[in-house]
C-alpha cells in the first residue's frame, strides 16, 4: 500500500509536468487546428533559459533564497520562451493560415528541428547538470515525499487556477473561446483574431516554460534533445484527454504520469513508454475523440 501511494505521488509529479506542456498543445489545436510540433522544443528552450538564469544568479549572488531564485528563473523563462513562441507563430505559422492542413505541420516540424539544433550549436551538445536546488525529503509513515515534488504540484495547481480564471472569467478568455468555436464569426464580431492567436501561443509557451523550469529543478539536468520525449508524451496526453479540451489536457497528463510510474514500478521500466502509447491506442479505439473531447459531428 505504501509502495502504491509512493508511486501515486511520483505519478502526480510527472503528470503535472506533462499536463502543463499538454495545455499548450491543446490550446493551439483548439484555436487553429494545427499540431504544434515545436512545442516540445519550446519546453526545452524554457528549461535551458532557466538553466542559464540559474547560472547567472549563482555568479552574481553568493547566496539567494531558493524560493526567490526559482521565482526569478520561472519569470525570465516564461518571458523569453513566450517571445520564442510568439516569433515562431508570426514567422512560420501565420503566413500559412488558410493554407492546406499539412503546411503548418511541416513548418512546425522544421521549427522543431531548427530550435533543437540552434540550442545544440549555441550551447553545445552535452548534458548540462546543475547542483540540486532543493534536497529536503519528508518521511510520512514510510512514504517519502520530497520538497521538489510538493513544489511542482503546488506550482502546477496555482498556475492551473490562474489559467482557469483567465480562460473562463476574462474578456481575453472569452475571445479565445469564441475564436475556438468559429473564427470567422468571432472576426465579424470585432475580435482581433490574429492577436488572440498570438496570445494563445504566448500562454502555451509560458506554461511550457514553467514546466521546463520544474523539470530542470526535479531532474537537475537538461540537454538540447530533451524536448522530444516530453513533447510527444504531452501531446499523447492532450489527445488522450480529448484534444481541444483544457481539463482533458490536465487529466491526460496525469493519466500518462500515473501509467508511467505504475508500469515502471510493477512491471518493467524499459517498456513504460510502450505502455503509455499502447494505452493511448486502446483508449482511442473505444473513445475515438479522447476522454473529455467532444465527438466531432460532421455536417455535409
Amino acid at each position: 500500500m505504501q509502495y502504491f501511494v509512493q508511486q501515486l505521488i511520483n505519478g502526480l509529479t510527472l503528470g503535472s509536468i506533462y499536463g502543463l506542456i499538454a495545455i499548450g498543445y491543446t490550446m493551439v489545436y483548439g484555436i487553429i487546428g494545427m499540431i504544434n510540433f515545436a512545442h516540445g522544443d519550446i519546453f526545452m528552450v524554457g528549461a535551458f533559459t532557466a538553466l542559464i538564469v540559474f547560472l547567472i544568479l549563482g555568479a552574481l549572488f553568493y547566496s539567494l533564497p531558493v524560493v526567490i531564485a526559482l521565482l526569478i528563473m520561472m519569470i525570465v523563462a516564461m518571458l523569453l520562451t513566450s517571445l520564442y513562441n510568439w516569433t515562431i507563430e508570426k514567422v512560420a505559422y501565420r503566413p500559412l493560415r488558410g493554407s492546406f492542413r499539412l503546411a503548418p505541420l511541416i513548418t512546425a516540424i522544421g521549427m522543431s528541428i531548427a530550435l533543437s539544433n540552434f540550442v545544440q550549436v549555441t550551447q553545445g551538445p552535452r548534458n548540462k547538470p546543475i547542483p540540486p536546488m532543493v534536497s529536503t525529503v519528508y518521511n510520512i509513515e514510510g512514504i517519502s515525499v520530497s520538497l521538489k515534488q510538493i513544489i511542482i504540484v503546488i506550482v502546477t495547481a496555482l498556475l492551473l487556477a490562474l489559467f482557469w480564471y483567465l480562460v473562463n472569467k476574462t474578456s481575453l478568455g472569452r475571445a479565445q473561446r469564441a475564436c475556438e468555436q468559429d473564427r470567422k464569426m468571432a472576426a465579424l464580431l470585432g475580435i482581433d483574431v490574429d492577436r488572440t492567436i498570438s496570445i494563445t501561443f504566448v500562454m502555451g509557451a509560458a506554461l511550457a516554460a514553467v514546466a521546463g523550469t520544474l523539470f530542470l529543478m526535479y531532474y537537475g539536468v537538461i540537454a538540447f534533445s530533451d524536448g522530444f520525449t516530453p513533447g510527444v508524451k504531452a501531446f499523447t496526453a492532450a489527445v488522450l484527454g480529448g484534444i481541444g479540451s483544457l481539463p482533458g489536457a490536465v487529466l491526460g497528463g496525469l493519466m500518462i504520469g500515473f501509467i508511467e510510474s505504475m508500469w515502471s514500478a510493477y512491471f518493467s521500466i524499459d517498456y513504460k513508454d510502450v505502455a503509455a502509447f499502447s494505452i493511448l491506442a486502446i483508449v482511442l479505439i473505444f473513445l475515438p475523440s479522447g476522454i473529455l473531447g467532444r465527438p466531432e459531428v460532421e455536417k455535409v
Binding site: Y29, I35, F37, F48, T49, L51, I52, L55, A59, L80, L83, V91, A92, P95, L96, R97, G98, S99, L102, A103, L105, I106, T107, I109, G110, M111, S112, I113, A114, L115, N117, F118, Q120, V121, T122, Q123, G124, K128, P129, I130, P131, R183, K184, V193, F228, V232, F235, T236, V239, I243, D270, V274, F277, A281, L284, I285, P288, S289, E298, V300
Partner: protein
C-alpha cells in the same frame, strides 16, 4: 506597394522610414531571443561544474545582421517583389522576370570561361595563389559550374518540363556510368574511376533513391488516401529487421526475403490499420506516431532477439541473382567470374541499379493503381470521406489497402537499406526520419511523384552537400565545424520552402474527376485559391 500609408499616424511613410522602424523591431526581438543563448554559453570546467562563457561580440554581430537583413528586405526586397507584379503602363508588359535577367548569355559565357581557365590551372593553383586563395578559387569554380549547368537547364526548360519523366529516368540510369567515366578521366585509370565513384554513387545516388522510394511509398498513404501517417519509419524498420534477422539466422537470400519483408511490413500495416480505422485526422496522426515509437522501443528493449541498441551486424550482401556474389573470398566473386580488377565499387553500382529498379517499380505501381478502382477510391477518400461512403465505397478496405500498400514499399526499402548498410540498429528509425519523409511528400506536392522525387533530391542532396563545406573553415577559422550547422540549416530550409511554396513544388494532384465549386470567403481566411 512602393508607398504605404501607416495607419497609426496617417502620414505617408517611405520604404526607408518603414524599413528603419521594422529593423529596430527586428533587432529588439533578436536581442531578446538571443541574449541568453548566443550572448552566454554554458560550458563545463575541469571539475565538471557548469560555467558561463560570455560572447557579447557574437551576440552584437547576430543582432546587427538580423537588423540589416530586415532593413534590406523591407526597403528594397518588398518593393522589388511588388514591382515585379505591376505591368508597365506604356507597353502593358510585366517586367522581365528575375530568372531571365539572371541567366543571360554573356553571363553564361563568362561562367564557362571561368571554369575553363580554372580547370586549366587546376594543378598549379596552389603554387600561384597560395593554399588560402586557392580554396576560394575552387569554390568560385564550383559556383561557375553550377551556374553554367543551371543556365543550360534554364534555356531548355520547356523541353525538359515536357519530357521530364523520360529525361529523369535516362539521367538516373546513366548516372553511375557518367560518374565512373568522368572520374576515370580525371584519375587517368579505370580503377581510379571506380574508387572515386564510391562517394558519388553511394552517398548521393543510393541515399537519395532510398528516400525517393520511401517518400513515394508514404505518398500512397498521405498523398493519395489522405491519411496522415507520422510513423511510416516503423514499416521501414520492420522491413530492415525482417531481412537482418532472417538473413543472418537462416541464411536466406535477399531475393527471397525482399518480398517476404514487403509482405511482413504490409501485414504490420494492416495490423496498425485496424484499430485506427475509426479515427480521423489528427487522432490518426498521433496513433501512427505512437506506433512508430512502440516499434522503435521494442527494437531497443527486446535484446534477446534484436540485440538492443547495439543492433545487428554482418547482414549478408545481395547476390547478383545468385549467379555472382560481391564477397572477395567467394569462388564466384564478380571480379573473378568476369576477370576484372577487384573493387568495392561494383557492389555499390549494382545496389544503385537495384534501388533504381525498386523506385521505378513503386512509381509504376502507384501510377497504375491510381487509375484502378482502388486508387480512385483512395483519392475520393482524401477529398471527402462522407461523400465517399454515401457512394457505396467501403472505407474500411480502402483505408486498409492504402496502409498495406504504403507499408509494403516501406518494407522493400527497409530490406534494401539493411542489405546496403550490412548493419541495422534502432538509431536509424527515429521519428525524425518519419518527419523528413513526410516533409518530402508535402514539399514535393502531395500526390505528385515528380515533385516528391525533386523534393527528396533537394533535401537529402542538400544535406549531403553541407557535409562538404570544409572551405568555410578558411573563413571562420579552424574551430568552425560546418557539420554542426547541417540540421539547423535543414530545419530552417524546410520552413522557408514551405512558406515560399505552400502547395509544394508541383502542387497537389487533384483527382481526375473533380467538380469545382466556387466559394467566396473573406480574404483574411484564405491565402490562395479557394477556401
Amino acid at each position: 506597394m512602393a508607398v504605404t500609408v501607416s495607419p497609426e499616424r496617417g502620414v505617408v511613410a517611405t520604404p526607408v522610414q518603414r524599413a528603419t522602424r521594422e529593423a529596430l523591431y527586428a533587432g529588439a526581438i533578436a536581442l531578446g531571443l538571443f541574449v541568453l543563448f548566443i550572448g552566454l554559453r554554458t560550458d563545463q570546467n575541469i571539475s565538471n561544474e557548469l560555467i558561463l562563457v560570455q560572447r557579447w561580440g557574437l551576440l552584437a554581430a547576430v543582432v546587427i545582421a538580423t537588423m540589416l537583413g530586415r532593413f534590406l528586405y523591407v526597403a528594397y526586397g518588398q518593393p522589388f517583389l511588388a514591382n515585379q507584379k505591376i505591368a508597365d503602363i506604356a507597353t502593358g508588359l510585366l517586367p522581365e522576370s528575375v530568372a531571365t535577367r539572371f541567366f543571360r548569355l554573356p553571363y553564361f559565357i563568362a561562367a564557362v570561361v571561368v571554369v575553363a581557365v580554372l580547370a586549366l590551372l587546376a594543378g598549379s593553383l596552389d603554387g600561384l595563389l597560395g593554399p588560402g586563395l586557392a580554396g576560394y578559387a575552387r569554390f568560385a569554380r564550383a559556383l561557375a559550374i553550377i551556374y553554367a549547368l543551371a543556365s543550360v537547364l534554364f534555356y531548355f526548360r520547356t523541353f525538359i518540363l515536357a519530357h521530364f519523366s523520360a529525361l529523369g529516368i535516362t539521367a538516373l540510369a546513366l548516372y553511375p556510368i557518367i560518374v565512373v567515366a568522368v572520374l576515370a578521366g580525371y584519375a587517368g585509370s579505370m580503377a581510379g574511376g571506380f574508387q572515386g565513384s564510391l562517394k558519388w554513387v553511394d552517398n548521393f545516388g543510393i541515399q537519395i533513391l532510398i528516400y525517393v522510394m520511401l517518400a513515394w511509398g508514404l505518398n500512397i498513404v498521405v498523398g493519395l488516401a489522405g491519411l496522415l501517417d507520422l510513423g511510416y519509419v516503423a514499416f521501414y524498420a520492420v522491413g530492415a529487421y525482417a531481412y537482418a534477422l532472417l538473413g543472418t539466422h537462416f541464411g536466406l537470400s535477399f531475393w527471397i526475403l525482399l518480398p517476404a519483408a514487403g509482405a511482413m511490413a504490409a501485414f504490420w500495416g494492416v495490423l496498425l490499420g485496424f484499430p485506427v480505422l475509426r479515427l480521423r485526422g489528427d487522432y490518426l496522426a498521433i496513433v501512427t506516431l505512437a506506433f512508430g515509437e512502440i516499434i522503435r522501443l521494442v527494437l531497443i528493449n527486446w535484446r534477446e532477439v534484436t540485440n538492443g541498441s547495439a543492433g545487428i551486424s554482418g547482414i549478408p550482401k545481395v547476390t547478383f541473382f545468385g549467379l555472382m556474389t560481391f564477397n572477395v573470398s567467394d569462388p564466384n566473386y564478380i571480379a573473378k567470374v568476369l576477370d576484372i580488377a577487384t573493387s568495392s565499387a561494383y557492389y555499390k553500382i549494382f545496389l544503385y541499379y537495384l534501388i533504381l529498379g525498386l523506385c521505378l517499380l513503386t512509381a509504376f505501381v502507384t501510377i497504375r493503381l491510381r487509375r484502378m478502382p482502388v486508387g480512385r477510391a483512395w483519392e475520393a477518400l482524401r477529398e471527402d470521406e462522407i461523400a465517399c461512403r454515401s457512394l457505396g465505397i467501403n472505407t474500411t478496405t480502402t483505408k486498409l489497402t492504402a496502409f498495406a500498400t504504403g507499408a509494403m514499399f516501406g518494407g522493400f526499402a527497409g530490406s534494401f537499406f539493411a542489405a546496403r548498410q550490412g548493419f541495422v540498429s534502432p538509431e536509424s528509425f527515429i521519428f525524425l526520419e518519419s518527419a523528413i519523409i513526410l516533409a518530402m511528400v508535402v514539399l514535393g506536392g502531395m500526390g505528385s511523384l515528380v515533385g516528391i522525387a525533386v523534393a527528396a533530391m533537394v533535401m537529402i542532396g542538400g544535406t549531403e552537400v553541407l557535409r562538404e563545406l570544409d572551405f568555410l573553415k578558411q573563413v571562420f577559422g579552424p574551430d568552425f565545424t560546418p557539420e554542426l550547422y547541417r540540421m539547423l540549416l535543414f530545419g530552417m530550409a524546410m520552413v522557408i520552402v514551405m512558406l515560399w511554396k505552400p502547395r509544394g513544388f508541383v502542387g497537389s494532384r487533384e483527382p481526375t474527376a473533380f467538380l469545382k465549386k466556387s466559394k467566396a470567403v473573406s480574404g483574411s481566411f484564405t491565402k490562395e485559391g479557394h477556401g
